[in-house]
Symmetry: C2
Subunit: 337 residues, 2 copies
DNA sequence: GTGAAAGCGCTAACAG
DNA sequence: CTGTTAGCGCTTTCAC
């Protein structure tokens, strides 16, 4: 007869009416705040199930002055080598957000173009932000800070009071390098690192150098190349490097590693007989290589999830950790045997 | 003296008061709906600038029953070869959304796990959805459709009334294949294609076959391999294929292409002298190869932006295009000379 | 052309 | 423990 329960989504009022209660009681039953009789609460939950009630998040938002959204700053100009990382990280965040009934909003940024971030802040579309690739000059963090927007960054940050979540690149690289130092003459261990604009490369470098210090030796400067961010620099670096006859070469990322492997193949050098190879970053692109390449492994899903978890914690009032470092794994494979 | 304009964000009421108008008039001035004196409107805009007023999107949302968000379904289990595509696509969407004052919300999906999508729908967090990788069984589209959620899919869809935006893979592959047919004996042109689960591979196949039909010939079945989604299938396919002495091999994606190149190098075959190589998908991972690889190029940023634009159009009441096909570019490089 | 008032669906005092 | 009453900040009839 009365098909009022047919299409329209039920709201607090409906379930209140159905139970002969008031909206506020129902609201309390749901939120768990304030005193409420256990019995009433159960009734409410039952009714919720029956009517398939779901709260209207927008109304909740307006009332609580919270959006239940977090923003995720991702670079619009990432290289293809990095893209899988951001993508994976993002899924980790989305997963964690979902568990806590939040959502992740995409914020694209480019060098000198933070307009999307500004928009999102001004429109109050998010409660907090995760910065997946901090700007070299800390401008993103500053903008966030100036606007009183809680945020956490993945990686290093030049900004003062940034809360950090990151894979432990320093110790990962350090441990991998230490392993290689046991196996190769210290003065014939080479390093090939990408753009110094990315803080991760600084961490890698730090780890590399630390391992030498630990061993009481120091790196052969003519075998250490950083800031390799162009084809030209790459070929120059490699030819200079090879003259020095390195016994083992550590690559900062898999793109560099691939290029190097191609070059070595050209020159008829074989891995690991003539030269050993290791990479600081493990991607599927190297899977097809024979021999398989020794490398560091980080869990990007977990990294994203942890970052989201930390941020949501802060938003919930939890005292945040200054810095959270996630574990790594070292995979010794045939390329360094 | 009165520092009321110091910290608190101004709202409609404030600017109304400042001008001696009512909230509703100001609201009209901003939205442009309803009659309003041009003069008043200007005053309002001026005042908005001065007070740096920005509407509270949440309140607007509640009132209008719109979220100003769109959801973007991305796979949580994409391969690394695909990740750059999704990432790039996403930035295109974010960009377009920003221009139209909307935001993109991430929705991660896996095979048989649409829980994040369900959550977002039930929580009414978005006004519409873009599906970047439709499920093989159309389950995502069905869920959306059943819930009356407007959506558009990137790629093909098995679901009936899906609105589509895609790169024109069929004609791209067709044209590239046609070019190769001019240059190579039809019965010595090979194809190596990834998982048939992905609709894009079906399109690629269709394009490949069409080119043969156009030329009045047909493909050598013993040189056509589809569904190559594992290491094992790959090596089997390649060894069978090579026995057949192909003059030119077309790879469905760059990951396959890379593996193939590695294999050919192993066998001492050189490109393009012994065998020509082309790829249907162009990524930076092949950049390091010498010779450079002939391939199809699609603009993922534009694809994402177009999809977002279409969806926002629908949400705005525009009659949508059934299917929008985006242009491609063919880059003939040394690998097929 | 403009203003007053109701309402979007929920939360949060404040009473009872 | 529960009900009543105000809002949250904007849009939108409906009068004037």
């Amino acid at each position: 007869m009365n098909n009022k329960n047919a299409q329209k989504k039920p709201q607090l009022e409906d379930i209140a009416a159905a139970l002969g209660l008031s909206k506020s009681t129902v609201s309390r039953a749901i939120s768990g705040k304030g005193r409420i009789k256990a019995e009433t609460r159960e009734k409410v939950f039952e009714c919720i199930k029956e009517l398939n009630y779901r709260p209207n998040m927008i109304a909740k938002s307006l009332s609580e002055q919270k959006t239940y959204n977090i923003g995720v700053v991702i670079p619009m100009d990432s290289s293809e080598a990095e893209a899988p990382f951001f993508q994976t990280c993002l899924t980790g965040m989305a997963k964690e957000c979902a568990v806590r009934d939040h959502d992740a909003v995409v914020i694209g940024t480019e060098r000198d173009n933070l307009s999307q971030l500004t928009r999102v802040i001004e429109n109050r579309k998010v409660d907090g932000v995760i910065v997946t690739r901090p700007a070299a000059d800390g401008s993103i963090e500053k903008l966030l800070d100036d606007n009183g927007m809680p945020f956490i960054v993945i990686g290093r940050s030049v900004h003062e009071n940034s809360l950090i979540v990151d894979s432990d690149h320093v110790n990962g690289c350090r441990e991998l390098t230490s392993y290689l130092l046991l196996q190769n003459p210290a003065d014939r261990l080479a390093l090939l690192l990408g753009s110094t604009e990315f803080t991760v490369n600084k961490s890698r470098y730090t780890g590399f150098v630390s391992a030498f210090m630990d061993a009481g030796s120091h790196a052969n400067e003519r075998l250490v190349f950083t800031g390799i961010d162009s084809e030209l620099k790459f070929s120059k670096a490699v030819s200079v490097m090879l003259e020095e006859q390195p016994r083992c070469i550590v690559c900062g990322d898999d793109m560099l590693c691939m290029k190097l492997l191609a070059k070595l193949a050209d020159l008829g050098k074989s891995v690991p007989q003539d030269v050993r190879i290791a990479s600081f970053y493990d991607s599927a692109y190297l899977d097809s290589y024979s021999p398989p390449i020794t490398s560091l492994i980080f869990n990007a899903v977990e990294l994203g999830a942890t970052a989201a978890s930390q941020l949501l914690g802060i938003l919930g009032g939890t005292a945040p950790a200054e810095e959270t470092l996630l574990p790594y794994e070292i995979l010794i494979r045939r390329s360094t045997m």
